[in-house]
Symmetry: D3
Subunit: 339 residues, 6 copies
């Protein structure tokens, strides 16, 4: 079997921390052939380290050496590069969020269809063991009624990178962190259509000078993204979602929580638990062992490659990632926006 | 000092479980002089048990023997009796919810003002030690941003009384149970004006035959109230509230949760905890001891009597209870209603 | 409906602690009409306390005043009284163990059949909520392979009553205490035929003078029953049981343990837990709520009465109690007996 | 002092994971001089890695270069190699179980005695700190009455190696895993003679296709060893043992349990706990610190070498390992065998 | 056997809460025949309640109706009444502390000896099960080296009685509360002679107005006793004691702690734990069961009566209670006194 | 900026474990230029490993190549080398304790002042996050009243180095280990003057042959330092301290405890907790996050260098370390000394 040739665009933290190691480990089905980065020095150093043959400053030049690209740039460039890749006939695995706006996402979907190439978005939470278990367990939960999502950090605004720059990232805690749990919740629900979206985005705390922050320091004056967001989403299926995400909440502990109460039972994803009725009893169940890989990035990369090779169905479909971006847009546009 | 003469209207569970014991214990400042109940036999038996001189079938006759009444009837009669009491020049402590609708509540407020008599609503959660501690601790929390409210029971639809009868009660889990935590949350926030209210009321589970239920059995066919409600409320102050209440949720455990993240810190009410920053550190604090009474119904009764006697300020003001009913109305009217 | 008239034979601890309160509470379907006891003074006092009309020293005289008897005498008299009762046309609820030997048990079964009257044995553990839940859950466990039974007390030889008297009781820890868990295990397994029984009965510790004992003191010289028993039972179904019971074990804590590993899953009874596989995962489940009564003696009495009245099927069938006694006989006869 | 020259026969997992590191660490008293393996490539690679001078395909050639051998082959070859070694005048440390059958074991003992050379069996559990502590604590326990042994894994059939091959290994969970705890229990008891052995060996679960398994996958069709075994052993001393081992039990958790109730007290080995009576009190004691090495394989190797050098007494005597194999034979022969 | 006739002098809280119930329960060996109290009304009411024949305002009159008295007055009157009792030929059980000063205590001892009557002091902590267990376990601890005593309450100054009145009580937290643990520690040590006593007594907190206090309110202006005391005591045996007691400490939790490190081992009394070395190991042991009565006041009363009747040896000897008072005197006199 | 040139005198465990790594990490502000050690071979090897240019056997020769020295020799040489360093115009960071006696310490302070060079003592516990948090939190505690210090190890006499040699070290558990907690306590208190010091130093256990010891073995015959010390210290401020340290205590667990009860609140350092009153409530608070470095040795080295460079104030002032030595002297001189 011919191995899929892969190019990485943007070789910063997320590329080196998750995608490159995953593709290297899957060396029976793919090989990384090229890097590109506007920071050409960083690209060259990294290429040398991993023994990657091609390095480019301009990503357009990379397309000829690869069958697929993994896009790891700031959010602002996701759409543009994705569309260019499809024009060059190359499959795309794009980091989350899919793009800055739902409109851009739609253009990406159109380009993908036109090119007949795979478009995957790196919502890797779906590949966690607990998430896979929860997806299967939805058959015990039945039709979802109430969904609760919390992606909360206590005083942990990222003090590095471009995370607090709205032009490059399109937003803060919601578009960067909360999007993962939002995508996971929608997927578990079966991606029903959203009927209403109401939300409030705050950046009150981070605009105050000298705040206590666990993850380094940042400039409160130039900080212009959300650091705390609440939202309420109603679906055509009748379900409703209570949603909250934050980088800087005044809470007891960090919390990643996703639970669903359905008509037949309920579940929590982290940790995986199931709440059911059986023989007139109420039962609580936990996983004693879940099969699967510890590293979700590895499963994600394999699913992308297998999809490109026509061997498997894509797990994170672009239409689903688009819905995430549509809801994020609606929250940011919501009358309650306090930015 | 002359003792306040008190009449009880409706001598069922809530009267015998909370109000009568409280007034009896406060026998230095009040005395129960009369009972009335449409179930005159129950009224007579109970009067005999507690040695109460007057018993009436028609509550109008009771007013001449009392200075104040405690109304413990089904919700449907709260407004009518309250207004009649004020016309008779009698103070009123009315069980929660204040009435079936906000409109009725407004009439009660008007009647109270016209009569110059006290109108108190029995939102007794406010008198719990933890609630009192939290009210004081709001100075450490600062301006509230995000408020989370959960009043959840797992499969505990009340199988007794009139709780599942919409005509008499006006609703189910929200108007009967969730209202307490909603009132408490609004009070801690300082009762800011609500700007938007979006909600969804379900009775999906309770309409299914043969459901597992911990609190007796009920007729799923005649069941016509909500058993699960979610809502999202935005306030003019900029705060937002994520709200959920249920009698029949598919969840792990019953949960009474109320937490607030403010600009300066955060708190949880049950148990009382405080999340603050100090000397560059993040601190979590718990109460090792809170002064006050174990029984909130006793504090509530004392505050009502002291207010009637002009010795103290009322804790649960009718305008605040009116706001609770306004929000409940808005949730029930919300487009997401699934009843 | 006519109420079942009930007589109690032997009004000592077990009668007053479990059976009399249960029958009194079930006063809509039965009434206690007579007591008999060789200690006639105790019988009279107790009758006066509970307002029971008839009291007899000789139990034969009691039969004419009752429809059913509950036998609470020392084990030695179980068979004789039961057979006499059947001859008098009276139903029987007999305390456990069924009798001193399996041979006596068989005579009781024969007498019951001949008389066409109900014979129930008071293995009340079966009526515990956990036991009822486990019985239903056997469908998840599938065919039983390995059964583990522990009914262990640490240094708690009963220092009262006739428990250490072999003539009256037939044995010690096994026949008095371990029999409950043995019966429960057999019932959960579906009472398969036993193929081999090997066991060892000890009374080593209790024959040593001045032993530490938590439940009063006893005469080590006259002590002539087992205080610790181990056994291994193989069934025709292929299942095997590891069994241990004791009054005086040198162990960490008292332990009541009954677990079953089957072909499809496993369970523990105390507390009720279920170990299954689902979607490729290993799941552990606990009961969050089990319906039923707190007091198993009440459920047992109701089942007995309902069976006598032809309204329900008997839960503890005499043939099943007979199997318990057969196994006990085999253990006591086993070559490993150290008494 | 001259160092003992050691040869390793079979350089697979157990040799590389336990024995080779131990002998290397004890380089003041021994040196590994030779490897032999039917897989000569593996032997050469490993020898190169550890700088071992001699490598042989045929183990007979190895004897001339060593004073002692450590046999790490499949169980089938233990007896043959051991006897050959003794004929060559070489000491033997043989992996457990001693051999496929008790008969083979006896031949090994005879050969050892004839040659006057040391024969040690690698029951390394005895060298664990907790086991050493328990051995000393038997003086507080007194004469053993009841011994409980559990060596249980939940759905962990080894999916690698030759573990599920009866020809090479002689059995499954009992001969490979349960043997360790059985040996340990016998040693703590003082290796009393066994009087009766009754057992049941299952392979029900592993013969079912597509079972959930935590340790890789195996062919259920060719699987022909036991995956679950129960047994009951009575000793001439009066003691009795309840024994269970499994690779595939439907249980809550893996469990390694060994507890003994004696005439004077009781103990548990994992973790080490002691249950005694003192001054009329019941005491529970735990080890706050136990002296000794973390790695039992190291202590085992040292004891073997010291015994070969005449400096110490052998801990695991071949007659004791023979008893383990005798009991295993009896269990496998037991009428209850379900294979 | 003739029952000991007992008189109670001072029928307040401690008499009614501990001593009267104890003597009533021991009605096979004693009977309460008389009460005396300066509050004659209280004495008469209580006598009526318990059916006590004689009541006196002046305690001198009581002596003729009793064989023994139990003195429960404020500390100031302990010595005077005790001496009068001995002059009247009556045995004495006197509440702790023995008296206001060591000098008074010595006079009491002298009077006791002269009269040949029993003098017991109610240091009832010694009769707690844990204390009895610890006394026996001192044989494992060996010669005591370091003793740590904490009798600490967080903000619990008694807001009732005469506890904060120095004239009547002689002191505060030390003489009223800490004395119990001090006595217990000395007794476990074998009452070795004290060589040096250095201490500091504080009343800093309680002199500050409006302090948070869990046990009612008190007048900070008239408060004139110690609320927190530290001390260090060296013994001729070589042992040293670190001592602390308080009614009002700013600490995490209330704490009653007494631990001893000896030459052979160590122990803690609450809960009872033992720290020893055995077989080269370090062991920690806890009591799984301690024989004895739950109520130490009952054991104390029985020991007093049995001593009066010549059947048993006195547990709390007056010379030992005298040593407690000597040390308390030395602490109060210590240069570090901050009152 | 010119980097501070640093010399290390004594390159044993403490130098290699703490100081050398810290100075190497701070390579932007300092560089290690020279080593000296009486064990010149060890010095040379270590210098080679870290690429240090100069190595000397005689420390006097080192001074010309450095601006500052870090003294890591046995305690006996601290004073002599420090004074020589100052005479050579070199700053000094000296390991704790400051010297063998307070008298030596005073000479060091005098020499420091005369030379105008920095003298820091390595009481690095002060640089732990919890200690820094506690220092700031003293404002909530208010004026200290009672201070409790425990630095206790169970049977852990150091079996290596010179720790049990009184000539070289001046003492045992107190001067080597307890000094850290004593220094920390004094610093948190604000180093008030001590008014009385009473203490007892034991070496009872370590003089007994064949004691169980967790940290290697030692010669009980030559052992001549303290292994357990208690002390009581009264301060002119009115505060009192209960102090205990040990290497060999018969206790449950090792314990490092330092708590302070002040007029306004209390605190514990390990873990950091705060006990306060607020709004009439008692609050307990813990740190959820404390800023700062994990490695206190790094902060200590930075503070020393910054002080030498005139950029920061010294944290551990020599006058404070002197007070520690004064108190240690007084404890060792105390009449209770049992050595």
């Amino acid at each position: 079997m011919k191995k899929l040739r892969i190019g990485i665009i943007g070789v910063g933290g997320i590329a080196q921390g998750r995608h490159i190691p995953a593709f290297l480990q899957l060396n029976d089905i793919c090989q990384i052939t090229a890097f590109s980065d506007v920071n050409i020095d960083r690209a060259r150093e990294t290429a040398e380290k991993y023994n990657i043959p091609y390095v480019f400053e301009d990503y357009h030049e990379l397309f000829s050496e690869v069958d697929a690209v993994c896009i790891c740039t700031p959010n602002k460039f996701h759409a543009e590069i994705t569309i260019a890749a499809f024009e060059a006939g190359v499959h795309v695995l794009c980091e989350k969020p899919m793009a800055l706006t739902a409109e851009e996402c739609e253009q990406m979907v159109t380009a993908s269809k036109k090119a007949g190439k795979v478009l995957a978005i790196a919502y890797h939470y779906r590949f966690m063991k607990e998430a896979q278990a929860a997806k299967k367990a939805m058959q015990e939960v039945g039709k979802p009624l109430v969904v609760r999502v919390q992606a909360l950090r206590r005083r942990k605004v990222p003090g590095w990178g471009v995370f607090t720059n709205k032009d490059l990232q399109g937003g803060g805690s919601l578009i960067d962190y909360g999007c993962h749990l939002l995508d996971l919740a929608l997927w578990l629900m079966g991606n029903p259509k959203h009927r209403t979206v109401t939300g409030t985005a705050y950046n009150t705390l981070s605009k105050i000078p000298n705040q206590v922050n666990q993850w380094g320091s940042f400039n409160h004056e130039t900080f212009n993204v959300d650091d705390h967001v609440t939202a309420y989403i109603q679906f055509e299926s009748g379900a409703s979602m209570l949603f909250e995400t934050s980088w800087a909440a005044n809470i007891k502990d960090d919390a990643e929580h996703l639970s669903i109460s359905g008509v037949d039972g309920g579940l929590s994803v982290f940790p995986f638990e199931l709440y059911t009725t059986k023989n007139g009893m109420l039962l609580n169940s936990q996983a004693a062992w879940i099969p699967g890989e510890e590293e979700p990035g590895l499963s994600q990369a394999r699913n992308f490659i297998h999809t490109c090779l026509g061997m498997e169905e894509l797990v994170v479909k672009p239409e689903e990632a688009l819905q995430v971006s549509q809801i994020i847009d609606r929250i940011y546009e919501s009358g309650g926006n306090h930015l």
